[in-house]
Symmetry: C2
Amino acid sequence: MTENTRKYEAAKILLQVSREISSSLDLEKVSEIVLDQSSKALGADHASLFLMDETIRKLMLTKAKGFSADELDNINLLGSWEIINENVIKSKEPLIVNDIRDNFLFKGKKLPFADIELPIHSFLAVPLEVEGKIIGILIVSNRKRPGHLFTEEDKELLEALSNNIAIALLNAKLYHRLKNLFISTVTSLARAIDAKDAYTSGHSERVMKYAVAIGQELNLDEETLENLRLASILHDIGKIGVKESILMKPAKLLGYERRQIKMHPGIGARIIESIDDSHKIIRGVLEHHERFDGNGYPHHLKGNAISLEGRIIAVADTFDALTTDRPYQKGLSKEAAFDRIREASSTQFDPKVVEAFVISYHKHPEIWLEK
Amino acid sequence: MTENTRKYEAAKILLQVSREISSSLDLEKVSEIVLDQSSKALGADHASLFLMDETIRKLMLTKAKGFSADELDNINLLGSWEIINENVIKSKEPLIVNDIRDNFLFKGKKLPFADIELPIHSFLAVPLEVEGKIIGILIVSNRKRPGHLFTEEDKELLEALSNNIAIALLNAKLYHRLKNLFISTVTSLARAIDAKDAYTSGHSERVMKYAVAIGQELNLDEETLENLRLASILHDIGKIGVKESILMKPAKLLGYERRQIKMHPGIGARIIESIDDSHKIIRGVLEHHERFDGNGYPHHLKGNAISLEGRIIAVADTFDALTTDRPYQKGLSKEAAFDRIREASSTQFDPKVVEAFVISYHKHPEIWLEK
């Protein structure tokens, strides 16, 4: 093995850590990987990640690993995080402290160290910077036990990784923000469209909540759940193409009016046709009024010929419609609606979807019983 | 310097390259950094990046640097990329070729090497993999000149980096896809709302196009442009709260009807209030009917008290309204509308925005003259 090859051996390990850290755009997951990888790389017992909350300009503990709940309480009580973070922010340099009680940072502070067991004996804290701006602080620490000290080499290693960690976290944050902006924008628009129909205020949001709950019970993967979320929030979007006088009518609809209403899934499908990747959400919108027995609309599809999204949204939509008051008809109680859905298993609805609905209803009453 | 410290010196350089590569979620920019960093690190004359197009399952040249247009033509003519890429895909291993004419890859192929000057003498190609799947290929190459050969060490270096490059590209692709999905979804919804007003089909999209053109002329930063894009596509969203009978009326509006119409910016602002970060776009929607001289609506704001977004959308919106046919009134020609906007500088419109509009109109007729 040449000198150069050996050099790359060390580099490869760090690159791999950096790669693991960047391998997701899910903030929760990235934070977890950062804590796992950094505590593993340094043989530390705990790791804690602080991220800057930009609205209040304050570092917040985002995630910690290795502590018991009691230990975390003690640390908070002693204000240890604040002292460490203040020092790191001031110096913008990594900080090693190998005996926390004897250290200048904590000496002279009137903290009741004598009374409370501090779970941290030694720690290494590094600032996470992007373009000179501190976006967070990563602290790895050890339990109070002899012989576990952090070295200059540990510091170099974590410092070398720190900017890569910072960028991975920042990318995940950006992705997270865009996703929130997307979902909240679409929700606002769906809410505005619901408002056109005097009796469906908040309907699309509730159907989304119900549909996602059923989807989770069916163990759908993250991508399918995302599509289901979008399809369900948009399932009534086609109502924008139905005359107001029909949507707003405070009485039972006449035949030709009902035919107009029945056009909304098709209109909705045409509206979202121009969305990129729309084929993944279009069927949920188009088929949410199909019935499992083939007696639905608009295409009289039957059984599994109806997309899973359509079968799920059908249950979610019906549950909300049944429990909503109309001017000419009071809504059913949640329990009565629950029974109706169960009775319509295999006729109106896919029995597998109804089964997931039943499980979710009992497991998560906070989702189904809240108005 | 200890042995360990030296190890980290090499690692630090690679980590820095990996960091540079991950420092953006803009696919275009990431590709550029990948080419710059990899050709710099290996002292190569050119670098070429291929990414897998998932719809057609084919590697496509995404970006290349260091070639003249003629050179690229010759390479394409000779089908050199295809031969290299096929071999890398088959072996899933990096490939070094230091004399392309003598190499087995190209021997026996009936390529007119004798006639055409091949600009590549030697190359190093690495597959870019994420979870065992090839998402692209990176090729660094040298001009035909003696003494510039790629070594095993070069291969190790690029191989060590390749997975980090792959992840950075994949993250940028995911971000790009989400952004497209967002913009296309909002556009579809805005289009559906435009369709409620019989005479404004396509209006919101054109206003977005115009507003962004003006914003670019004003050198707005990327984030402000994004907000402007969203505010302009949504500027008429409040029309969803105005009665259809008024929006659809095929004649001049009566006083009370006009008052109803004038409520749409305020309704729009309330609709998007629930969007995350909405304060950045809300004013563009709320203030797009304000006038620079203070005679607009709904709040009679004056001058710079109107948000820049509101002042820009006002020009974009008016230009489109002037050039659109109404049932009771034919639209003006583009030239006449252009003159009208110029005449209303300082009264209806911010003169700075009008100036940017005038420059953009002359510089980009494809934006302004296309119907």
